[in-house]
Symmetry: C2
Subunit: 433 residues, 2 copies
Amino acid sequence: MSKRPKIIVIGAGFGGLQTALSLGGAPAEVWLVDRHAYHTFVPLLYQVATATLVPELIALPVQTLTRRHPNLRFVHAEVQAIDPRHQRVETNRGSLDYDYLVLATGSQLRLHTLPGAEDYALPLGTLDDAIQLRNHILGCFEQAAWESNPHKQQELLSFTIVGGGTTGVEMAGALVELMQGTLRRDYPHLDPRLIRVTLLHTGLTLLAEFPRHLGQYTLKRLRKMGVTVHLGTRVEAITATAVHLQEGTQIHTATVIWAAGVTPVVPISAPTLQRSPSQRLQVRPTLQLIDHPEIYAIGDVAEVQGRGQPLAGVAPVALQQGVATACNLRRQMAQRPLRRFRYLNKGRLAIIGGYAGIGQIGPIPLVGVIPWLMWLMVHWVYLPGYLSRLQVLLTWINAYLWGDRTVRQHLGASTSPQPDSTAVADASLPLLD
Amino acid sequence: MSKRPKIIVIGAGFGGLQTALSLGGAPAEVWLVDRHAYHTFVPLLYQVATATLVPELIALPVQTLTRRHPNLRFVHAEVQAIDPRHQRVETNRGSLDYDYLVLATGSQLRLHTLPGAEDYALPLGTLDDAIQLRNHILGCFEQAAWESNPHKQQELLSFTIVGGGTTGVEMAGALVELMQGTLRRDYPHLDPRLIRVTLLHTGLTLLAEFPRHLGQYTLKRLRKMGVTVHLGTRVEAITATAVHLQEGTQIHTATVIWAAGVTPVVPISAPTLQRSPSQRLQVRPTLQLIDHPEIYAIGDVAEVQGRGQPLAGVAPVALQQGVATACNLRRQMAQRPLRRFRYLNKGRLAIIGGYAGIGQIGPIPLVGVIPWLMWLMVHWVYLPGYLSRLQVLLTWINAYLWGDRTVRQHLGASTSPQPDSTAVADASLPLLD
């Protein structure tokens, strides 16, 4: 009896997980490797960061999905290197051999390009990031309540977001909602006029991937909600207490949220690998690496053309590529000809907050409450796990009806300590007045 | 205009929170102080520790409750000392003066009495404890899956609980359910016969506060579920890999869960304070300290008699004492005579697991599915926060219908790191076979 081929899929994000699940029942052993034991539903990260959703609701244990198929196995390990010559993946648990490999390693925030960013900017890329950011925001309010120096208090209540793409826009909207609603009620003794949310964007229109007038609508909505938006602004450096802009001014702020620029995570190195200008891996139209037909690359790590330009790093692209890769792997194992990947664009949506969103479905642009509701519905339907889906629905109904954000318990990320409560112990006590 | 008196309530557990809320609208400033910004619903901690409930669901932000009344204020601070002579509370945020003080500081696990317990036993007293315990349990399965030494694997899959009171019994039942259900499905390659849950109890009957035959029923149920129960066993020492019993034998186990013995947390010291043999504060029948009529003590920290013996440290006692204290404080401020506290015992329930519980309502003993359901219903009704209540209901329906425990994401407690995944990196890889 011949041994069944072994497929290793690296990364349990949208692309990798979809590949593995689409290979359920295939004549192969499929091992899905990820450093986290859960699949993160990235589009809802900002709702974790703004105390709306409990983190567990957007983090489905991978095993819950893989155990449905006997030929799938989840491996909780961190990939350290890939040796394409010997067809081997090195992990912190040991090395794994493969016959076929799928790289679905995604991207990470590009923080190192700016002085101070790695030390002082808070990223929003992973679930731990979101939890740490939430605790930091709650900690700023808490510290501000004990702070008697008005300059310092202003700094603690100033929140600055770098990047006017979808993440930056949705963070800005959700932050204002959190602060003007729940946190004002939690801290009735704080002066609400001190709260400041600033969005910095290098371009001249927000949400550049949408038509220009949708970006202008977004700008108007955010300003109406109370967000200070600076367009055409470049950040030069970040310190513990300020953002320095290229034009020479600075913004005093204890919180800088980084939502600008990602770079692909490429765990493989070989002399024959070809990369795009954005450092993504060049692939054939069948999603195989150009010199390695046994290796596929999908999602943010792969450069794939659609209508003459590279496809964006969004979930629908990765999901469709996951299905296509599984299909091609089945064909490759059966020695049948492979198929070209073609992306079907069903439209795009972005949420602003305050019952407002924008969208572009085919030729039709949408603004206002309809795309806002569509955004929530689409993400609700795609969220994995029916229990999470029910709980998210309840949370949203509560949040949007009463303006309440309930996740304010300061429970930790896997690594972060709580904000240091003794740091202000020697400050004077405004409460005692 | 005379200044309104200031009441400080220390501890936002059942007793302290109830006192503060019952003082809503009273002619006084009420400051509720706690080191956590949330109220922990302790009876459901074991469900957090066994991956059933998301921690946030049993941790309501205190401000959500206190902001309902303008005379209540929540102070997130850690009490360091109390000076009854100058009527002052010292915290890490500074000192607070009071006219009246309510001590509702609860109890903590008494770990220091046993060699090795503080280092190696995992307590289950706070929400952080529960999260750390859950992550430890999940980490043991994860490590066992990578372990090739059968002796070490057996040790990782052995879980030992010390203490046969309600916490020990409910942990034992819930642990077996978690392991035989969800974790067996997550790790299909582990031999389920290696999983071992052991309950150690010094007494000869479990749940000693109930009639004897209810304890015997509990013993039978636990054994039927697969728990190894040792009665009349005293633990002599705990090490990283074993529990040493007084009779000379030892149990090899990587996990020791401590559910035996609590001691009151008394942050006050004064020469005139009187303590009970169990170190609780002696109070008058009105719940005031004997020599300090301006200080009340309630809940686990106070020794209160009911029908000739000290009242147990359970939530109903603390809740009723909270109401009584608020009532007496209002009378004391109005210079009216105070009332004696009298506990109304509505009965007791304990949950075992597997659709089984026990109960004693007045003279009527109950066993089986009825008290199990009553336990869930009573705790569901008392859980604060209607959103949490709805989400807990959904979680329970899912958990008890499908035997699934969904909270397996390894997200951290505020302080604990994740189990070290590199610790077994040099172990051989059974997965590669």
